[in-house]
């Protein structure tokens, strides 16, 4: 049997395989680069960037949940300029697709960041309209179709030839409405899902464990929600999807592809097993081989609903 073709095309960008560690779980790549060669990955999304440096939220920022976790990091990052100066020269030399993730307080800020990143030669920009942990912008842009469209248009207008992928929030009544708004505004791809808003409370102190009271839920617990939403969006919008949310193994990744994803994000599973993304790439290849799949892209949207 010939080798399985693992490559996929996301927003016109070729990834050597569909596995992509997601923003906020992978720093700027350096830490997990100690465990494996980053060129094994299809790509990865860097920690969310903002126009100006951000300190993030006060601790505690982490709470464990059944098969998952809450976080309220709050977009701590050095700012887009420091990223381009200090991190990008190292990242651009990697043989993998490095995706810049951005969040703005205003549509104009998204535009400014897109301009800088596009000029620097970043291959793909992920526009975060769905961070649950910041007060301004963030989640609001991702929960109202007209605001999501406005941000998408502004990003596209300033991104030059660099494709723009819009990251959607699951904290909405109908995710397809937001997806359609982003698509109509010119998005080249969609990524979903961001974290689900959640909360935990310490019984003794009666205080929420997170200092911000609430945070974003991720981990294996959210996989079924993510699959459902990817499936809905894939059915509603003709754009490639980076599907993420609770994926921890190659089998989870196959499910995500069948639900309609073109590429598959992995996040908090990496905290449990630093090698999880590499194992997923290998497992995906084996799974395709044993199931007579010549190219992994054949799986996208292959679920057969009743």
């Amino acid at each position: 049997m010939p080798e399985v073709d693992l490559s996929v095309t996301l927003a016109g960008v070729r990834l050597k395989n569909p596995i992509v560690p997601v923003s906020g779980t992978f720093g700027f790549g350096e830490e997990y680069g100690q465990f494996f060669d980053l060129s094994r990955l299809g790509g990865f999304c860097v920690k969310g960037l903002t126009l100006h440096p951000r300190n993030g939220n006060p601790p505690p920022r982490i709470a464990e949940t059944p098969m998952g976790m809450l976080n309220s990091v709050g977009l701590q990052n050095p700012g887009v300029d420091a990223f381009l100066e200090k991190e990008w020269p190292r990242l651009r030399a990697l043989d993998t697709v490095v995706i810049a993730n951005i969040s703005g307080n205003t549509p104009a800020e998204y535009g400014q960041m897109c301009e800088k990143l596009s000029e620097a030669g970043v291959p793909l920009i992920e526009v975060n309209v769905s961070c649950p942990n910041v007060k301004a912008g963030g989640l609001a842009y991702g929960t109202r179709p007209e605001l999501c469209a406005e941000v998408t248009r502004e990003a596209k207008a300033h991104a030059g030839r660099t494709p723009v992928m819009v990251k959607l929030s699951p904290n909405v009544t109908d995710i397809t409405e937001i997806a359609k708004a982003a698509a109509d505004a010119g998005a080249d791809a969609l990524s979903l899902i961001n974290t689900l808003r959640g909360m935990r409370i310490d019984l003794e102190t009666r205080r929420p464990i997170l200092r911000m009271n609430t945070g974003g839920l991720s981990g294996p617990a959210v996989l079924p929600v993510a699959l459902r939403m990817v499936w809905e969006v894939h059915s509603a919008v003709d754009l490639p999807i980076l599907g993420m949310g609770g994926v921890a193994s190659a089998r989870d990744a196959v499910e995500m592809l069948l639900a309609g994803a073109t590429a598959v994000g992995m996040g908090s599973a990496i905290f449990a097993d630093p090698m999880a993304p590499v194992k997923a790439v290998e497992g995906l290849e084996n799974w395709c081989e044993s199931h007579g799949i010549a190219a992994v892209r054949e799986l996208t949207g292959g679920a057969r609903p009743w």
């Binding site: 920022r61 990496i270 630093p274």
Partner: protein
């Protein structure tokens, strides 16, 4: 560069109420990643829990056929309860050694200040300076006191405090640190590990007496390697630093004690 290692549990001893000392065979982890006493390991606590548990190393040594490391932990929640149910011969999924330990000079003399479950990591410090150390150890009560004998054996002196006076003197670790420094300030540094209020008290005492002080901090943690920015603590200069990658040991003067 941290190592992920399947470690065999070779010894399991109760050292206090709900408190266990594990000795693990750790492959070449110690030889490859040891930077100083006070580093930690990140231990997976069963398949049904996503996050590993960070636990400071008590003592470790490069050894043949495998490096050995010991940890002392208290059962605090479901993860550590799972860990406490492991038996000798079981294997644990361990990431380590992580973080930067205490910065210690060969030939230095140290004042070790430990509170509760913060006491064990200081044992590695006492070993590192060949016992050229004075220990001030504090516990809530006599029943909770741990590792008194090993510290008593290895250190020049060990002073004991309990919150309720049921063992040693009644008082806090910071009181003990002041009592020692009143008579003897000839220490390279104070090395402290314990709950945050205790560390704050020790840091204050260190500042009053003009002795350098390093503190080992705790925060809820996810990745353990500096990627997720979960375990942030605010610094006096207004920046955030991370227990897993920048710490767990910090210069006491750099920490924002009012945060």
């Amino acid at each position: 560069m941290p190592v992920r290692q399947s470690c065999k549990l070779v010894s399991k001893v109760p050292v206090g109420p709900n408190t266990w000392q594990f000795v693990l065979e750790a492959g070449e982890m110690v030889g490859r990643t040891f930077r100083g006493p006070g580093q930690f390991v990140h231990i997976a606590c069963g398949h049904s829990r996503l996050l590993r548990r960070p636990i400071s190393v008590c003592a470790c040594q490069a050894d043949v056929p495998e490096d050995l490391l010991s940890v002392v932990f208290e059962v605090r929640g479901e993860g550590t309860a799972w860990l406490a149910r492991r038996e000798v011969g079981d294997s644990l999924d361990v990431l380590g050694l992580l973080g930067n330990g205490f910065q210690m000079e060969r030939g230095g003399r140290y004042l070790l200040a430990g509170g509760g479950i913060g006491v064990p990591p200081l044992y590695g410090c006492a070993q590192f300076c060949d016992g050229r150390a004075v220990a001030v150890l504090g516990f809530r009560s006599a029943q909770r006191a741990i590792l008194l004998e090993p510290f008593g054996k290895i250190c020049e002196g060990a002073y004991l405090y309990t919150d309720d006076g049921s063992l040693g003197k009644q008082g806090y670790v910071a009181d003990g640190v002041r009592a020692v420094l009143d008579k003897d300030k000839n220490f390279t540094a104070i090395l402290a590990c314990g709950p945050k209020p205790m560390l704050r008290g020790v840091a204050e005492a260190a500042r009053e007496y003009g002795v350098p002080c390093q503190v080992s901090m705790e925060e809820r943690m996810a990745c353990g390697v500096g990627a997720c920015l979960g375990c942030a603590i605010p610094m006096a200069d207004g920046t955030m630093r991370h227990v897993c990658k920048d710490g767990p040991v910090f210069d006491a003067q750099e920490v924002d004690w009012n945060a």
